[in-house]
């Protein structure tokens, strides 16, 4: 019955649904988990990598200027970090768009783009793909962890429909239901970044497919405010730093082979 209304994204079904968008969200539910937690002095993002394996060439990531970002967590601007779940190619395209949008704002107004506006730009574009053009929607959900002078630390989530909302803690991708309920139980309003980091790592450990955590499977990022300059400081952890963090939290894993999966 649904088949007749699948072929065009721009057509409603008789029940008033847009199937292409729902199918896009279905694709995302199979992707690696990304979770974000808002603390009073920062925002934390953690993500499960799905593209792993011995043959993967990660030599660039080890010394990379901003640390192993590349599959799930990206620097969008000096004041915003993005986490993606879904079709990697679509995600790369959206990340590029976000980076350009942030620079366009900087060019016009000579100030960092407010986090919500960046989310809006992307959402306006994503919504366009659900209403005109006859093109399929982006199969990506994003988490935006950012800081601006207007509303300080913020965490937003946007989905293929072009809808977005602000969160204190949220999760996208596989097992997001489990992670979300864990976060609901354990999240407290005045949580600090240090506590949020611990919480993120614990929740990831419970929701990830692999039984023990390690830097090949986990990406991690934190956005804080530099105490001296009062400027936002984005840190995407390098693999060695992820391992160090896990050791600190008492969740380090031993060396083992991992199978490659598609994201």
């Amino acid at each position: 019955m649904a088949r007749r209304y699948d072929s065009r994204t721009t057509i409603f079904s008789p029940e008033g649904r847009l199937y292409q968008i729902e199918y896009a969200m279905e694709a995302i539910s199979h992707a690696g988990t990304v979770l974000g937690i808002l603390a009073k002095d920062g925002v934390v993002l953690a993500a499960e990598k799905r593209v792993t394996g011995k043959l993967l060439d990660l030599s660039g990531a080890k010394e990379g200027g901003y640390g192993g970002s590349g599959e799930k967590i990206f620097l969008l601007n000096s004041n915003v970090i993005g986490g993606v779940a879904g079709l990697t190619a679509d995600a790369n395209s959206l990340v590029n768009y976000a980076r350009t949008a942030a620079q366009r704002h900087l060019f016009s107004y000579n100030e960092d783009i407010p986090v919500e506006q960046l989310a809006q730009r992307l959402c306006d574009m994503k919504q366009g793909y659900t209403q005109y053009g006859g093109l399929r929607p982006f199969g990506v959900s994003l988490l935006y962890a950012g800081y601006d002078v207007h509303h300080q630390f913020q965490l937003y989530h946007s989905d293929p429909s072009g809808n977005y909302s602000g969160w204190k803690a949220t999760c996208i991708g596989a097992n997001n239901g489990t992670a979300q309920s864990l976060l609901k139980q354990e999240y407290k309003d005045e949580i600090t970044v240090a506590e949020a980091v611990g919480l993120a790592v614990r929740v990831m450990g419970k929701t990830m497919d692999s039984t023990t955590l390690g830097s090949e499977k986990l990406e991690f990022a934190v956005l804080t405010l530099d105490a001296n300059t009062k400027q936002p400081h984005a840190k995407i952890y390098k693999p060695a730093e992820v391992d160090a963090l896990l050791s600190e939290q008492g969740l380090a894993k031993k060396e083992e082979d991992t199978e490659m999966k598609t994201a």
Binding site: G64, G65, Y66, L76, N77, R99, Q103, R104, L106, F107
Partner: protein, 207 residues
Amino acid sequence: MSIMELNGGSVVAMVGKNCVAIASDMRLGNQALTVATNFEKIFPVTERIYLGMAGLATDVATLRERFRFRVNMYTIKEEREIEPETFAHLVSSTLYERRFGPYFIEPVVAGLTSPSKGSQPFIAAADVIGCLNFAKDFVVCGTASPELFGIAEGLWEPDLEPEELFETISQTLMNAIDRDAFSGWGAVVHVITPEKVITRTLKGRMD
């Protein structure tokens, strides 16, 4: 009067021993009237690369913002800082994009390559449509460029230490802008070494 002489101003850059220096005057004018004496024409692109631009002031400001845009995108995507020579080519292609309606500026790039490439000194200049000049000694631009050419040719010698380079470039600039009606009202000199950048403000004839 040419459009390049509306606001006035000059920039010079020189190569030293494991260092570079770049200097400019501070005048912003409207033909003969001086409007500002704190108009900086040299901007940091990265910690090790500085860009100076002489010519129409609105284009100096706009291009400074356009290059910030492009260098930010480069840095975020490449996850490393841009090299001076690469940046010079970025300047060249940005200017050539406007081949038939150009920005009225002459840029000067001065910097050091990254530590992994040996922190080598680098300077370059271009014309309004992006023709690059990779000099080994010095580059000049602006309303006092004829004067700058002559004095630099006389004073410059290779392998000057940072302190000596500062003296040489300062004398070159100060005496050149004294001879030019459209440049002057103070000067700024940046000396870039692998460890740090030393910025000094000079006071000369304030006319």
